[in-house]
């Protein structure tokens, strides 16, 4: 901790790093299955608001809010995923961007909407003001433990039959279906898992950041989550964790350049996607870059890119 503090990473920064690593993992699951979904910010919003309303207004403990948020996000992911996951690449991206915006606008207008249905004034999401004064319930060790458990589960998942099916679908959906993999089932399960994970990250984050508002979960949040995974790389689950850590810690370490923060983030994202298509955690990509810099042509056949 002392070491981290010396390079500018205080405890709150560490907490954000851990949260962003979890968010990176949530989109990693869908990317690993070959689905380019940008719905994670939307599910994060659903989970966060549910969790916060449960702990703050109904006095549930943190785990109660966590389970509630995860449950609702998962329940909403099912009817959304069934039709939407029939779409591919750019079409899926656009549809999920649309979903995220619809969620944000509904949360923004939730109070008047529900009040008009119930017939009496109800204050739950507090519109554009957002909810503040959320009880501080999340401890740093909660996040560490959560991240370790999730990483372990994902590592196990990759070795399982289901995990192999995910990889097969990414490589070739048609071929996977011919092999007898239930593509619709796997894709939807992964979509739900991804939504649940994003929701969990959101609930945990709200209980140390202590304020939330609908603007936090717009298109830019969706892009940030994507950036964690893309920067780190989606060839292994370590990638998004590293990506989340690096992108969150970087502005703090380079505190003196704070006004250039956005510019630096944009440049990093561009450089990685152009020169290191497999992300930071990808030895093969570094090797290829090294060869290119030395001006040698690689004899190895170009591997199919993922993500």
């Amino acid at each position: 901790m002392e070491l981290l503090r010396s390079i500018g990473i205080s405890e709150p920064v560490l907490q954000f790093m851990l949260i962003n690593a979890i968010l990176g993992l949530s989109i990693y699951l869908t990317l690993f299955t070959g689905m380019f979904s940008l719905a994670n910010a939307g599910f994060m919003a659903i989970g966060t608001y549910t969790g916060v309303i449960l702990t703050q207004q109904f006095g549930l403990p943190l785990w109660g809010g966590l389970i509630g948020g995860m449950l609702l996000a998962g329940l909403i992911a099912l009817p959304i995923g069934l039709p939407v996951l029939r779409l591919r690449d750019i079409y899926l991206a656009i549809a999920t961007i649309g979903f995220g915006e619809i969620v944000r606008i509904l949360i923004l207008n939730f109070d008047p909407l529900v009040s008009s249905i119930v017939g009496q004034p109800i204050k739950m999401t507090y519109g554009a003001l957002g909810i503040s004064g959320i009880p501080q319930l999340t401890q740093t060790w909660h996040l560490v433990v959560f991240l370790i458990i999730i990483s372990y589960c994902i590592a196990r998942l990759h070795r399982s039959r289901f995990g192999r099916a995910m990889a097969a679908i990414r490589q070739d959906e048609q071929a996977a279906a011919n092999m007898g993999i239930n593509v619709v089932y796997v894709k939807n399960m992964v979509f739900i898992l991804s939504a649940v994970l994003a929701a969990a990250a959101g609930v945990l984050k709200a209980h140390f950041a202590r304020t939330i508002d609908p603007g936090d979960y717009g298109f830019s949040q969706a892009v940030d989550i994507l950036a964690f995974a893309v920067l780190g790389g989606t060839t292994t689950f370590v990638g998004p964790i590293v990506g989340g850590f690096v992108l969150t810690a970087m502005p703090e370490i380079l505190r003196d350049f704070k006004q250039y923060r956005g510019i630096i983030n944009g440049v990093i994202l561009l450089l990685v996607i152009v020169y290191l298509p497999g992300g930071l955690v990808n030895p093969a990509g570094w090797a290829r870059l090294w060869q290119r810099l030395r001006g040698k042509s690689s004899f190895k056949p170009v591997e199919a890119e993922t993500g």
Partner: protein, 294 residues
Amino acid sequence: MNVTQQIVNAIWLGGVYSLFALGYALVFSVLGVLNLAHSAVFMWGAFIGLTVVTRFSLPIWLAIPVAMLGAGIIGIILDLVAFAPLRRRNAPRISQLISSIGAAILLVNIAQFAFGTQPQRFPSGTIPNQALEGLPFRITPIQVIILIISLVLMALLQYLVMRTRIGQAMRAVAFNQRVAGLLGINSGGIFQLTFFLAGALAGAAGVLYGLAYNSMTPFMGDGVALKGLTVIVLGGLGNIQGAVVGGFLVAALEVFSIAAGSSNYRDAIVFTLLFLILLFRPQGLVGQKIETRA
């Protein structure tokens, strides 16, 4: 609700939306990629136009051609930095989408740095916004000018793409890059031309949007970006005529939902439409044949 007035509003706003979405559609039809930095170029166009008027105190009618030129050049740079390296590597379309997001972040942040985050305006008196008299509805000269410029630019684009050799080359590259190359078409040049045209259209739309609302921030592209997506999905991705129709439809939907008193939900209505179109008619409302099935 004054229906005539709402139709008038929808028409001039639709002109701006169509103009903006045409750039999206053009890039998608020729390159098959979604350029999410298009809205950042739009914003840069508006600021270039503003700078022309405020810093160099040039007349306002010069703002549009200068902004188009500047935004077009930004478009070419965008292609060189974010798209060309990936194209050379035959990277998947999604990688190009992500690199365009990176470029958008970069462009918006440079703009914040260069122009600040406070809303900026054209100096008062430069915009003719006294309502015209003797009409059954309210319309200002600037709104008429916006509509005329949009329509002229759309017609020019249509002429360029459908009636000239360059347009023929663009369509050939869009149809099949390899075959076009065998026929002696320089596809790299066509790609850059496409990005220039898309950027110029975005720049023009940016200035017109800035003139219409007279408030410019580096984030002005955000709302338009997603609306532009809806427009091109509505028209059928990559369908140029479809983008024009879609622009007017989205504007009408927006104007009428505000007039009907649901301004809070106007964006939700637009995005719900986007969602439904993607699910049920991915080829767009006006598309007939299924090109790239989603």
